[in-house]
């Protein structure tokens, strides 16, 4: 992971939309390192019956040299709390973890710049972007339209059409049921602690 451009996936929307449209690889069409906060990955995959969950886990595993699952205190504390309360659910966990990652003082060094990819901009209201010359937030559709204008993909709209038709993909949903424990373990194996390398 040494590219100057970092693509931070700061909420679950981009991951799930792209997974449902079988287009996660679009995130790799840019010469950038992809950074996903651990809690965002957890929220995207916490119930493997959810759309795209297993595809996301498989995709992260297959591209470990390009993708960093960033460890956060928010997720670490949540994971510990789940030992006592396995059904614990914190609706804003992913958002808090994303804010934590983005605000790490040494997250961007030298000439590095960051793109914050989110489904919409609500999460960014809680982010203090210290250097707007180095960090820009865009939506999934903005990202796809840029790829389309560069002729890297055929149609940005088609991805959204596929994602919006997700409810009809019953066979894929059924295939993924009852794998929660597997995805939880998978996330643990994928998290990268910044101070100590891969967990």
């Amino acid at each position: 992971m040494s590219r100057d451009l970092k693509l931070f996936v700061v909420d679950t929307g981009p991951l799930i939309s792209l997974a449902v449209a079988e287009s996660l690889d679009y995130l790799l069409l840019v010469d950038a390192d992809v950074v996903i906060p651990d809690a965002v990955l957890h929220e995207a995959t916490r119930d493997a019956a959810r759309l795209g969950a297993q595809d996301i886990i498989d995709w992260v595993k297959a591209h470990r040299t390009r993708i960093e699952i960033a460890a956060t205190k928010a997720y670490e504390q949540f994971d510990l709390a789940r030992l006592a309360a396995p059904q614990l659910h914190e609706p804003d966990l992913g958002e808090r973890a994303a804010v934590e990652v983005i605000e790490e003082p040494d997250r961007l060094g030298g000439n590095e710049r960051g793109l914050l990819l989110c489904e919409e901009t609500a999460v960014l209201r809680r982010v203090v972007v210290r250097d707007r010359t180095r960090i820009v937030e865009i939506s999934t559709l903005d990202f796809l339209r840029i790829l389309e204008s560069e002729q890297r993909i055929q149609s940005a709209e088609q991805v959204f059409v596929l994602a919006a038709s997700a409810g009809r993909l019953i066979s894929r949903v059924e295939k993924l049921r009852a794998q929660d424990d597997e995805t939880r373990d998978a996330i643990r194996g994928l998290v990268r602690r910044r101070s100590g390398g891969d967990a």
Partner: protein, 71 residues
């Protein structure tokens, strides 16, 4: 089973009048995957965030993503 209020919230989200986070909370903490499924069931499109007012940051993102192709 969605209530009329839930359906109106989905329509508001689809029109970009409500954020995904607000929608998920109003629907009882559902996941984004659930939102996609419910949109599909209601035959509603995904919201398209307006680009007006964000042209400069999108252009900057474009230049960072493909620096050799953008002046």
């Amino acid at each position: 089973m969605l209530s009329d209020q839930d359906r109106e919230s989905l329509r508001a989200y689809s029109r970009c009048d409500m954020t995904a986070i607000d929608l998920r909370r109003r629907l009882g903490g559902v996941t984004y995957g659930d939102v996609l499924r419910l949109l599909s069931e209601e035959a509603l499109p995904l919201p398209h965030a307006p680009t007006a007012g964000r042209e400069e940051q999108i252009a900057r993102a474009h230049a960072w993503m493909f620096p050799k192709r953008v002046a």
